[in-house]
């Protein structure tokens, strides 16, 4: 626990010392939302009752994907490049716990980013919907986040092996966000992609949130989505931890922790 708290505190301090990073967190959701918003306007909202709110909830939920991938993968790569990773890994504290601290901090950051983007967009673009349903949505968002961070552990492992983070982070975030139904109903995806989308926890988390806030029919009955999310959370957390553990062994054998 002390290890998790220490890593959390370290990342929090460092974050606030890079003042410009804060700017990025504030602006990023608005920037990425813009092409969707204008696309929606170009089509007069299409068949949606309120495409702006629809897409905005999509961006708010999928921004967690970016937080996980940038917050874990990219920063791990940075630590590797600067050389601090070795100093951390030669302490008796387990690397997975150290990473968990990083994860918790990025969770706080991601939540702040999502709420901020919802709030800002509410002002800039104007929103309708049952916003008082947000707390109830936590029952879905919570397990979704656990699943997502399990994936993050696995992704961290991938970064340690590939040692190259920019493109896979950028593209991975975008692909996963699109597949989760960020900008359109999952049902409108081509058949193969839709099947992939149904395997993502973010798809259900986002779908449940939209159903609760904007109304309409969910992909699957909500209790089923909740159960699916719980299963995915358990499975992904276990798988992510296993991958990271295996990669840790590999890195210690190949000695690739410090070079770049």
């Amino acid at each position: 626990m002390a290890v998790v708290a220490a890593a959390f505190g370290r990342d929090r301090r460092i974050f606030f010392r890079y003042r410009l990073q804060i700017l990025r967190i504030v602006l990023d959701p608005l920037v990425w939302f813009a092409p969707l918003y204008f696309l929606g306007r170009a089509f007069g909202g299409g068949p949606f009752r309120d495409y702006t709110s629809f897409a905005l909830l999509g961006v708010a939920v999928t921004s967690y994907i970016g937080t996980v991938m940038w917050g874990i993968g990219f920063s791990l790569k940075q630590d590797m490049d600067t050389g601090v990773l070795e100093a951390n890994w030669l302490s008796p504290a387990s690397p997975s716990l150290q990473l968990l601290g990083r994860v918790v901090w990025s969770l706080v950051l991601g939540t702040a980013e999502s709420l901020l983007s919802l709030g800002l967009a509410g002002v800039v673009y104007g929103l309708q919907g049952q916003w008082q349903a947000l707390p109830r949505a936590l029952a879905y968002i919570g397990p979704m986040l656990v699943a997502l961070y399990g994936f993050g552990l696995g992704f961290a492992g991938l970064v340690l092996v590939v040692r190259q983070a920019n493109t896979i982070t950028d593209a991975g975030q975008f692909i996963l966000s699109t597949l989760s139904g960020q900008s359109m109903p999952v049902g409108d995806l081509p058949r193969g992609l839709a099947a992939l989308a149904m395997a993502l926890p973010t798809t259900y988390g986002l779908d449940a949130l939209r159903t609760l806030v904007l109304g309409g029919a969910p992909l699957l009955p909500l209790p089923v989505e909740q159960r699916l999310l719980a299963i995915m959370a358990a499975a992904l957390a276990a798988a992510g931890a296993a991958v990271f553990w295996a990669v840790e062994r590999h890195v210690r054998r190949a000695g690739t922790l410090a070079l770049h």
């Binding site: 220490a6 010392r17 601090v84 030669l90 302490s91 387990s94 410090a258």
Partner: protein
Amino acid sequence: MAPVEVSDLSKRFGTRVAVDHISFSAEAGEVFGLLGPNGAGKSTTVRMLCGLLLPTSGVARIAGHDVARHPVAARRRLGAVLGGERSLYWKLTGREYLLYFAALYGLRGADARRRAGDLLARFRLDDRADELVERYSTGMKQRLALARSMLADPAVLLLDEPTAGLDPVSARLLRDEVRAVAAEGRTVLLTTHYMEEADELCQRVAFVTGGRIVALDAPGALKRRLGGGAVCRVELAGWRPDLSLPGEAVAIGEGRWELRVPVSDPAAELPALVAQAAQAGAAVLRCESVEPTLEDVFVAVAGQALRA
């Protein structure tokens, strides 16, 4: 059982053998040096001792714990400085940096604060402790890394090229710190390619080249191996292997070599050597006879200079 015990340790990267069946042990209170040129396998050995790298074969023990089998127990008794200033977080203050690592070593609350404060004072960082590390000088960064390695009150301290990149004054101050650390009964294992440093600091030195230990002894004993006399150094232009001159020739620049020959009676043998070189057709640029240094021993044992 010695605090550091290495037996038959090897590491292969693909087909390249970085460390080739080395064995040694280092005692409490001892400064033990691994001395060798770049690429000799020193850092690889140290990383295996830290548990950052798994050996291909062989065993390394820290305070009796097999590093590969019981890494956590071993790391509790161990401090290490590997990348020097590269192991620091630039956007933390010195104190925050130590407190963070204190938590990783299981210290908490008032204990951690006291320990961090003590170390900051000990390594003369207390007046700048609350400044961001990015404003520190290289010497201060190196001392902060050393302070970090002392957090766990370690029985064994591993230092990989601790004075690389430091100016002579900072390097000497750091060597004083290292001596003080060993005087507290800790084992210090350091790597270096500076022979003066090994000579001055280490009770025992292992010569490493090509992943093997080619000699291991106290610096004085190593020098006595040369026969207790002196070393003649003759700087030559136009040396060739087929001139069949005695000793080892070390390239020291464009078209220039230094011939190093251990002798017992320099007054007689230096002039003879100069004459012999001239006769063979090499131009003698400079000659002297000196007390043998560790580097002379290294050249004699390894047939290779420390600094290429």
